[in-house]
Symmetry: C2
Subunit: 209 residues, 2 copies
């Protein structure tokens, strides 16, 4: 004659599953589970289906490692883009942000991370060897294009810089030109609020008018 | 030649689905979607399966409206519990909290809400008519027991009191005894921090020693 001190098994399991998500504790997980319980059946199943679809359909482009539901991805498959120019970013989100500017018509390479020794992420965990292969064997690049320039678009912080240095060394050793995105004062900011590192970049990278 | 300004369709759809959950905005939804993308396939599908299972398996007990994966629920099906005693609560969570005390061996009735005119919740939205039916037609109650006492266990606040009054009137008109959970000083608290309403309840409900 036990007391009923838990929800039905499937409800407890749903709460436990939600609690595995980042930033979701036991109380939020309960709230989410009760939301699912109260939702119309189709709405709840649409969430389950979306999770399944993502796992079934989304993959990384085999050339640039961007997220894609087709392989190669839309950028690598686009004949109007210059596949000899490769902009290296850390994550798919960075690619989208750069695309939103509408300013870049080359290709990308997504490293899927950055070198972070403290978190146990070394160069081997990244897609760097695949970038090297794109350069060494043009038939592995989009439309067989020979890479003539690699642009480093890593985050301008300690780990991004470490990664950039590593990638630059590897790429330069193949005789390919390596550049990096410009650093300086962010457009629309005020000098009085800029920090030392930003000002140092701005001075060092000054350009003649 | 459009720029790639969005994630693949299935990723965007997952983000949109997560954003329908309570307390989840676009940014959290993106974080959750990327967590799903990075998770091992089985872990992600376990979440989808848990959602589906809850919708497939969990129902309300047809007698007391507790959440259950069997009908009648574990409480209503337990022959050692006194089905002539019915404790009325607002939601399944309240039932679990009461069960955790191990002090109650009767049955329950879950109203699935409370009267809240401002939110458009009237007595009709609750399971009150089903409670009345359990009383009027004992064959609808667990093991055909005639209800001899209804204990009101609604929240001690304005809407809970309004609901309790309404339920009490309906039940009393059928000649069944109606009681409510005691109110007073919460055990372990300090009188100096008790508010007026709590002290008024404590004085009014004082008991002889």
């Amino acid at each position: 004659m036990p007391s009923i001190t838990a929800y039905p098994e499937s409800v407890e399991r749903l709460i436990a599953q939600f609690a595995t998500l980042p930033g979701v504790g036991r109380r939020s997980a309960e709230r989410l589970a009760f939301h699912i319980l109260k939702s119309p059946r189709e709405e709840a199943l649409a969430i389950a289906q979306a999770i399944t679809d993502v796992k079934d359909r989304v993959r990384h482009c085999s050339i640039c490692f961007n997220l894609a539901d087709k392989d190669p991805c839309a950028v690598c498959a686009d004949p109007t883009r210059d596949a000899s120019l490769v902009l290296v970013v850390e994550q798919p989100k960075d690619l989208i942000i750069l695309e939103q500017t509408g300013m870049y018509r080359g290709a990308y390479h997504v490293l899927l991370g950055r070198i972070a020794p403290l978190e146990g992420v070394g160069a081997d965990s990244l897609t760097l060897s695949q970038l090297i292969e794109r350069i060494e064997r043009p038939e592995r690049n989009a439309r067989g294009a020979a890479v003539r320039e690699v642009i480093l678009g890593l985050n301008p912080d300690l780990e991004g810089d470490t990664t950039a240095l590593h990638v630059a060394e590897r790429v330069a050793s193949l005789g390919v030109k390596v550049t990096r995105l410009a650093r300086g004062l962010p457009s629309g900011s005020q000098i009085e609020f800029a920090n030392k590192a930003v000002l140092a970049d701005a001075i060092e990278g000054r350009r003649e008018l």
